[in-house]
């Protein structure tokens, strides 16, 4: 099932029978010609049935340009989100990515909204580009039903790469949309599929851009945007016939202008953006994310903001977090055990920090608790290399997390006991939870039971 949109670019074999418009046949010429003469039933003459006068290289190139700017940004913010999980500790998923390993560095703690922005942008921009992707596919869909499907080996290969391109983007959109809405209908590991799928897509995108960029440039220059956007419906005519055959051979009169079509796609993008950004905003703006999980506050008052795992789902009950609860601190054989009262008796620090989740939502709250570096000092770990935090949660990918040195030592990195002046609720991680600037929410471990400060690997 090839999903070709655009056959080989300007690469015309130097055959005398190659028309100026269409590339000639490659080797074996007779084979390709025979294929061209034998379209499957139903496909003969399908090329004449496309009626829209809007399809053409200019419109396709406008969509292409928007995606050329937008999609790399979605890809890069996605990679940053992966890095924020700390692959150096084996806690970014998928864990083992072989040659696709990214350069590793310590994820910074400043600015504290860093992860909030990278993941919010990844999700919101990804959703915003959905109408543009669909518009681009609409504009080139006649190529899918083109006969012959190829005139040379070069075109066969290019069509196969377009299957990777189109399959890749639709796969990433589908898995991403299902993930942020917690509907794992696909039945495979999301992280693995989304990470590797992105690389397949990007490889195909690089080829597509390399082969088509000059055509995009020519097409955009062929109709200056300012002049085109001034043309109303009544004056809208098809583009001149193009070698790719995007322009309909028997177009109907226009029912919508090109600017109208672009306004429609742009408007749909704005609609989706408007219904998505609320997940990353606080106050009554949150409610504008009408159709997404995080447009709703689970409660009211100081602890009414969203969580990403409930205490019930984590299997953490009242018996685990009652008066018998203790926080164990360890560092190179030294150990300390503190109850909640002892923690509250230590110097308290307050910081306004976001909780940001990779599923595309975030919220800014005021947390109060003990600085992680003070806890480290308590067991004599003044310059820890890392800290391993364990939760009361028994199972699950995020029952534990490792923090980098900078994440332990940041003055705003806390073991929070209260939020917005109220005790943490069970769902927010009572009796104590980690909160670190710019750290993904799932690594801000809740229901903390133990922190082990480890030495510096190079010390």
């Amino acid at each position: 099932m090839s999903a070709d949109r655009t056959p080989s670019d300007g690469d015309r074999p130097g055959r005398p029978d190659a028309t100026p418009d269409r590339p000639g046949y490659g080797y074996p010429r007779r084979g390709w010609a025979a294929l061209a003469d034998h379209p499957p039933p139903g496909l003969r003459g399908v090329g004449e049935r496309w009626r829209s006068p809007l399809r053409g290289p200019w419109l396709t190139s406008v969509f292409g340009l928007v995606l050329l700017v937008g999609l790399p940004l979605v890809f890069l913010t996605g990679l940053l989100d992966y890095l924020a999980y700390g692959p150096q500790f084996g806690q970014a998923f998928p864990r083992d990515v072989g040659w696709l390993r990214l350069p590793q560095f310590d994820w910074p703690t400043r600015p504290s909204w860093l992860f909030r922005v990278t993941q919010g942008l990844h999700v919101a921009l990804g959703i915003t580009l959905v109408p543009v992707v669909l518009g681009k596919l609409w504009s080139v869909i006649p190529k899918l039903f083109d006969w012959p499907p190829a005139r040379s080996l070069a075109q066969v290969l290019e069509r196969l790469s377009l299957l990777l391109l189109v399959g890749g983007i639709l796969f990433e959109i589908a898995t991403g949309l299902l993930n942020i809405q917690y509907a794992y209908l696909f039945g495979f590991d999301f992280y693995t599929a989304h990470y590797f799928g992105a690389w397949v897509f990007v490889a195909a995108l690089v080829v597509h851009v390399a082969l088509r960029l000059s055509r995009l440039r020519t097409a955009l220059r062929s109709r200056p945007a300012r002049a085109e956007l001034a043309v109303p419906r009544a004056g809208t005519r098809p583009e001149p016939p193009d070698p790719d055959g995007l322009v309909a051979s028997h177009p109907d009169p226009a029912t919508v202008s090109r600017r109208g079509a672009l306004a429609l796609v742009g408007g749909l993008s704005l609609l989706l953006a408007g219904l998505t950004v609320g997940q990353s905003l606080d106050g009554s703006w949150r409610r504008t994310a009408l159709l997404l999980p995080r447009g709703r506050q689970p409660g009211t008052g100081p602890t009414g903001f969203p969580v990403n795992r409930t205490a019930a789902a984590a299997g953490v009950g009242a018996a685990d977090t009652g008066p018998d609860w203790r926080l164990t601190l360890r560092a190179e054989g030294r150990q300390a055990s503190l109850d909640r009262a002892a923690l509250l008796a230590m110097p308290q620090h307050t910081a306004r920090l976001p909780i940001a989740c990779v599923e595309g939502w975030s919220t800014l709250q005021t947390w109060t608790g003990v600085r992680l570096r003070d806890l480290a000092a308590l067991v004599g770990a003044d310059r820890p290399g890392s800290a391993h935090v364990r939760s009361l949660e028994k199972a699950g990918l995020f029952a534990q997390a490792t923090l980098q040195a900078n994440q332990v030592l940041d003055p705003d990195s806390l073991l929070a006991l209260t939020v917005n002046g109220a005790d943490l609720t069970p769902d927010h991680g009572y009796p104590a939870r980690v909160i670190v600037p710019a750290l993904p929410g799932v690594h801000c471990t809740k229901w903390v039971t133990e922190i082990e400060f480890r030495g510096r690997p190079h010390a």
Partner: protein, 158 residues
């Protein structure tokens, strides 16, 4: 040398660079495929990858193209492309497309898919989404209708 190059182009159908680029792209895809082949769910991933293309090209596109054709048939030519004034066709197309897009993107909530994982993550149910989508769609049609009426009234008066 130049002759060899021309013969390669004639046989292959494009330059050597073209081939090199595509081989690189397939190498990445093949490497990923081999790497994932060991996963128990590799077949499902492939199915979703190819299925996404099939679902778009052979289900979604024919569906919306047919819906648009039906709408154009229902709305008479004069209303679809009036010599002056607003187009009824477009004032129906836009909200219909917007409602369909919202349904497609926010489908899991609207159809209450993944109830258990949703509850575990958020502590909530997906109760309100269907009604919200219906309301949002209704509002889009209403807004478009009001705009159509207003533009028609203005066109007649002018």
């Amino acid at each position: 040398m130049r002759d060899l190059r021309a013969r390669f182009r004639a046989a292959y159908g494009a330059s050597g660079w073209h081939l090199l680029l595509l081989v690189g792209c397939f190498a990445v895809a093949a490497w990923v495929a081999l790497r994932l082949a060991g996963e128990a769910t590799a077949g499902r991933m492939l199915l979703w990858f190819v299925g996404a293309v099939v679902a778009h090209d052979l289900v979604l596109f024919p569906m919306y193209a047919a819906a648009d054709w039906a709408l154009r048939t229902a709305v008479r030519e004069r209303r679809a492309r009036p010599a002056s004034g607003p187009s009824l066709l477009n004032h129906l197309r836009v909200p219909a497309l917007a409602a369909a897009l919202l349904f497609l993107v926010y489908l899991p909530g609207i159809l209450r898919q993944g109830r258990e994982t949703y509850l575990a993550a958020t502590g909530q149910d997906q109760q309100p989404f269907l009604a919200r989508w219906l309301l949002a769609s209704g509002a889009l049609f209403l807004a478009s209708g009001i705009r159509y009426a207003f533009r028609r009234w203005r066109a007649r008066r002018g």
